[in-house]
Amino acid sequence: MSVLLNAASRVLVQGMTGREGGFHTAQMRAYGTNVVAGVSPGKGGTERDGVPVFDTVTDAVAATDADVSAIFVPAPFAADAIMESALADIALTVCITEGIPIHDTIRARSVVMRGGNRRLLGPNCPGLVTPGQSKVGIIPNHISLPGPVGVVARSGTLMYEVIQALSQAGLGQTTSVGIGGDPVSGLSFKDVLELFAKDPATQTVVMIGEIGGASEEEAAAWIAKTGFDKPVVAFISGRTAPPGKRMGHAGAIISGNTGSAQGKIDALTAAGAGIADTIEDVVRLTSGHLPAAPSVR
């Protein structure tokens, strides 16, 4: 079992013929992802490495029944690509692109949320991987291992670190979901926790947050309110970040009283989550929550 993505997922790539899109499509296919189509306006009717290319997402969906889209188009055009995907009834749109103007993201997100069973992951996110089944995005291929841990993170590289550390300790993952580092985005921590709650294979959850916004606090409130019964291990980066400075991610900024690492740690602690100070701690705490924890390699 898994959330959002599995071996049956039929993936199309918007911007597949570009440099980034092309490279990561090859990586995804090497992982085993079922990439059924690419979309590049003006290149419809051609093929790239045996994958058919279409002019529009609607054409691609009609021909291939794609249900997941990965967006690799440049920032000025990415919000349009999100809306195109959503309005073609793609169930899960994963936007990897970084640097989309925030007003564009707000509009595109509102279109995705306008109804139906549509979801947006990102933008400015690494994508997601269900180990051994499928990967959409840019998460390195060699780090994941199938198992019982659900992973959800804002930061890409920090998520890779945690996934690798978990895998090396024999703690595999159901699905690892990177929600992205922008101030406005699609799926939130809370949304992904809701999905993990319904997934019987997910026994415990690792949440990797960072300064800025209140998505971690929202998740903490949700955990407390619903009595989410799977243990949560949380790791928050940016404890040393000064207020008012943007730490790399557009959304990683402490504004006034909101967004500090301590505020998030306090909220999650109050909700009963275990707080990890280091990646080694993440592994130790997660392993403690699994009854039949395999021996650490």
Binding site: I102, S155, G248
Partner: protein
């Protein structure tokens, strides 16, 4: 990109919003000439930071001589590290009431928020903290924008408990409708993160006038606003004001934040670099900076990053923390070695790398006499110990 007050006001005026009559002066003589023309004026420092009034950056003058004297004083000021290069001289108004009207980003609602308050002239953040009930809010649909009835609702909500209004609330609400819509459209058109009029003055004649304003444009939308960037650059030569290291990093296209410690920190990915800083702190050290080389960094970029970090004389050692995904460890190793040799780096250089092309990266570093670590925590401990010793 933060526009100066007068640039924000020019944008307001283009959107049909009334502003006081004013002129820009870059010299005391120009300020004097403006005062001769306009009479009693406020001489206001043009800087990209708030709090200039408290800092003495605003003076109201009655004569051209006073305008010249005050302009000379203000033009010699530096406000929170930002040198004053120009002053905006504008006429005063017969003020009946002061309001706040602004559009900003509401992360938690995934939307922009339009705010109106009768508590004008104060920092809105302060009002939000002390008396949030004084701010009325509206979250417009991003495609429809704020509708007439919504703006009326916003006005009535904000005015309900407002003391001593010069006009009936219904008149103010009526006047607010076109104004709020103009400001909202301007914010969208300019990709503004913040677009606010504070104070928004209601004159004794019953007209709304924007007497001060803030406009911050989303950097991600720079490609759509080259004209504004050029305008701003004309007033503020690159690197004027603010942190000089951050300005230099911006010129080099590096994602860098200057801090006040002594351990230089470089990594790939924002979250990983934040964690690198946290690790240094946990081990008892103080990070000197945040520097993210991003995904797929080349050897050249890594060399440039090291060069950048070492510009800060406080730095006593550098911690490079790399998780190879798209980024290749061998490429990073080449950059580190090139930088060390070119810059003749003698201070401690602690590298932790894992992931793509790790073996090759480690071999290159070892041959060059740098011992790479595998655990980030251990590497942090090592760099902190080494930089403390060299204290």
């Amino acid at each position: 990109m933060k526009l100066l007050e007068y640039q924000a006001k020019q944008q307001f005026a283009l959107a049909g919003i009334a502003i006081p009559d004013g002129r820009l002066a870059r010299t005391p003589a120009e300020a004097s000439a403006i005062a001769r023309e306009l009479g009693r004026v406020a001489v206001k420092a043009q800087v990209q930071v708030g709090g200039r009034g408290k800092a003495g950056g605003i003076a109201v003058v009655d004569t051209p001589e006073a305008a010249e004297r005050e302009a000379r004083r203000i033009l010699a000021m530096e406000i929170k590290g930002y040198p004053v290069r120009s002053v905006w001289c504008e006429t005063g108004l017969a003020i009946a009431n002061e309001f706040y009207l602004g559009i900003t980003l509401d992360r938690e609602c995934h939307s922009t928020v339009l705010m109106f308050s009768a508590a004008g002239g104060m920092e809105i953040e302060q009002v939000a903290a002390e008396a949030p009930e004084k701010i009325a809010k509206l979250w417009p649909d991003p495609f429809m924008g704020p509708q007439t009835f919504q703006i009326r609702q916003l006005a009535f909500a904000a005015l309900r408990n407002a003391p001593e209004l010069n006009l009936p609330a219904s008149c103010i609400a009526g006047a607010l409708v076109p104004l709020a819509r103009s400001l909202y459209d301007l914010a969208g058109h300019l990709d503004a993160l913040t677009c606010e009029i504070n104070p928004l003055v209601l004159t004794t004649e019953g007209k709304f006038v924007a007497t001060d304003g803030k406009l911050e444009i989303d950097d991600n939308s720079d490609f759509r606003h080259q004209d504004l960037a050029a305008l701003l650059a004309g007033d503020l030569p690159a690197g004027s004001g603010g942190d000089p290291y951050e300005a230099e990093a911006q010129r080099r296209g590096l994602t860098y934040v200057h801090l006040d410690g002594y351990v230089g920190c470089i990594g790939n990915g924002a979250g990983l670099v934040m964690n690198t800083l946290d690790l240094v702190k946990q081990q008892g050290g103080e990070p000197a900076n945040f520097l993210d080389v991003g995904g797929g960094a080349t050897a050249d970029k890594v060399r440039d990053a090291l060069d950048m970090v070492l510009l800060d004389p406080q730095v006593r050692g550098v911690f490079v923390n790399i998780f190879g995904g798209i980024t290749r460890c061998d490429e990073v190793a080449r950059g580190i070695i090139a930088a060390r040799d070119a810059l003749n780096i003698k201070m401690p250089l602690v590298v932790r790398m894992t992931g793509t092309s790790e073996e090759e990266g480690r071999r290159l570093l070892q041959e060059a006499g740098i011992t790479p670590g595998v655990s980030a925590t251990d590497a942090a401990m090592r760099v902190v110990a080494l930089t403390k010793e060299s204290n």
